[in-house]
Symmetry: C2
Subunit: 225 residues, 2 copies
Amino acid sequence: MTNELENKIIKYVEEQLSCSAHDLEHVFRVYNLALKISENDNVDLDVLRAAVLLHDIARIKEDADNTGNTNHADLGAVMAGKFLGTTEFPIDKIRSVEKCIRVHRFRTNMKPESIEEKILFDADKLDSVGAIGIARTFGWVGKHGCRIFYRPDDLEAYIMANMSGKWNGKIQDKHLHSAQIEFDIKLKHMSDLLYTEKAKKIAEERIAYFQSFMERLEEEIQGNF
Amino acid sequence: MTNELENKIIKYVEEQLSCSAHDLEHVFRVYNLALKISENDNVDLDVLRAAVLLHDIARIKEDADNTGNTNHADLGAVMAGKFLGTTEFPIDKIRSVEKCIRVHRFRTNMKPESIEEKILFDADKLDSVGAIGIARTFGWVGKHGCRIFYRPDDLEAYIMANMSGKWNGKIQDKHLHSAQIEFDIKLKHMSDLLYTEKAKKIAEERIAYFQSFMERLEEEIQGNF
Ligand SMILES: [Fe+2]
Ligand SMILES: [Fe+2]
Ligand SMILES: [Fe+2]
Ligand SMILES: [Fe+2]
């Protein structure tokens, strides 16, 4: 893929995410992570780079749809395919890009299969742990009025009661929710769901950082440090 | 001060801050910090404990006043004095509590003088650095749609243009603002404005943690870790 074509793709992504600088910055972080994970592997970088850049283009449309019927992975795949068809992007690779985008999401029945699909999936999830995961979690907590620090006595019972019984379920009452709960869920489930060995290693280190942060936060809240 | 009286004060504080669990948790963190700072010092704990618990009771009234004329330190001092007058709190100490609350704020011409005033001021500021400072900063960033990571080329020029020239000034365009800017300002100015030696030591350690977090965040954003 030429720089010129890549810039054309980026311009389109910026238009789609123009009301959400947050999502755009996420896209570039995932891009850097995906390139890092793909180093020394036999990866189609045309497919990977296009898929990463375009993976969240339908995010704003999903958020704007109050019926809950829009899935940004499915819609994004369609939009990406249509857009790439108007460019000089190799036509025989468009299907692969679409598939990457379609399966990048947690809540889906289709699972990543190709190496490019797995790398996009993993890089996207890695952006929710580590220091950036801390920043994003508290940003989300602040936006939705959740609590900074609250740990239910029984996490599984909490998930049953407030998240439809699924650890990646929709949160029913955000005022009952907390950063602590998000962290506990990630600590427990994150490393199981990644596909590539390189991402698993990065996740392990990032989750350890995450955990040390939460331990320190707890100490500080008790008046230590 | 008896436990019974302290619980009565806490109940009143909870009523005043009932729409803001966030502020209530802040009050208890500041309470723990203030007790820690006051250890082994000659401090009137009646005055300090009452002042800490009551220091932000007018916060919601300030936020609700769109004219910008309500100062929660001044109003809180008046409310606290009136409330304590209805309890068995020693009447000769009410003035001291009021004064603590009146001067706990950055943007004021009056400065803390007594040891209790200094401790409340310092403990309140310490809650904005360290892991809890990270959590609160990103919560604020998420709530107001600021950016996670954006550092202007020239911080002083940015402060002139977007914060009325004052590092603790009102932010004019929140979409231009970022967690990075908040951190940079605190790194530069925080330690100068504390009064007690113990708080300065805690601040130094918390700011170092803060700084290591931001450095790590920057690395992660570039795709490292
Ligand atoms: Fe997504
Ligand atoms: Fe994403
Ligand atoms: Fe305050
Ligand atoms: Fe405060």
